[in-house]
């Protein structure tokens, strides 16, 4: 069964450094998302991406964040200058064609980001 994959599984970085979190969505999916989950808190939406552009973003997704689909398979989340409060589990998700509406989102296993 196809799965969303994410790398690395754990990223440790110093405050102020740039990080890139990588995701490979399921191959025929067209809608892509990033969510984060701060330890002990609920999953929060960051951004959705469709047709090579951001379709929606939350207030969390400020100028320090950016997303990119550099080729036909990868979907990345970049944090330009990490802050301590960026420490969280970051989940990538994707939905199939037509899945921007009622379809379920398929989640990857997450990348745990630790900012020191």
């Amino acid at each position: 069964e196809p799965e969303v994959t994410q790398t690395p599984s754990h990223q440790v970085t110093q405050m102020g450094q740039e990080v890139i979190l990588r995701c490979v969505p399921i191959s025929n999916h067209l809608y892509f998302y990033w969510y984060r989950q701060i330890l002990g808190q609920k999953v929060e939406f960051l951004v959705s991406f469709y047709n090579n552009e951001i379709s929606e973003k939350s207030e969390i997704f400020d100028d320090q964040f950016s997303v990119e689909r550099p080729d036909g398979s990868n979907f990345t989340l970049k944090i330009r200058s990490t802050k301590l409060e960026d420490s969280a589990m970051y989940f990538c998700a994707s939905s199939p064609p037509g899945g921007g509406g009622s379809g379920e989102q398929f989640f990857g296993p997450g990348t745990r980001l630790t900012v020191l």
């Binding site: 809608y31 379709s55 379920e104 398929f106 989640f107």
Partner: protein, 114 residues
């Protein structure tokens, strides 16, 4: 703005007994509702969804959920719990008329004892 409430941080049930994990929601329009499960060190796994039609929705691993529009609830149920059902359960909602953003509840830890 849409929101989800899961009033219980933890639900404890004995194996073989029925279980219920509660969820209420708020959206401006008609909702799409989802349940996801998270096992330790794993991503979120889809369990079931309500889009339209029958208020009782059946999903993976024997789980089901009942959509109740008047009570704005979407409680997750299973007739007979298994120890392997122990995990963190998230309810999520999105507005049918809006974008595809999912809004999650804070999660409910289900612990099934042998």
């Amino acid at each position: 703005a849409q929101s989800v409430a899961q009033p219980e941080d933890q639900v404890n049930v004995a194996e073989g007994n029925p279980l219920t994990v509660k969820c209420t929601y708020s959206v401006s329009g008609n909702p799409y509702l989802f349940w996801y499960v998270q096992y330790p060190n794993r991503g979120l796994q889809f369990l079931l969804k309500y889009i339209t039609g029958d208020n009782l929705v059946k999903g993976s691993y024997g789980f089901e959920a009942e959509f109740n529009k008047s009570q704005t609830s979407f409680h997750l149920k299973k007739p007979s719990a298994l120890v392997s059902d122990s995990a963190l359960y998230f309810c999520a909602v999105r507005d049918m008329s809006g974008y595809s953003t999912l809004t999650f509840g804070k999660g409910t830890m289900l612990l099934v004892s042998p």
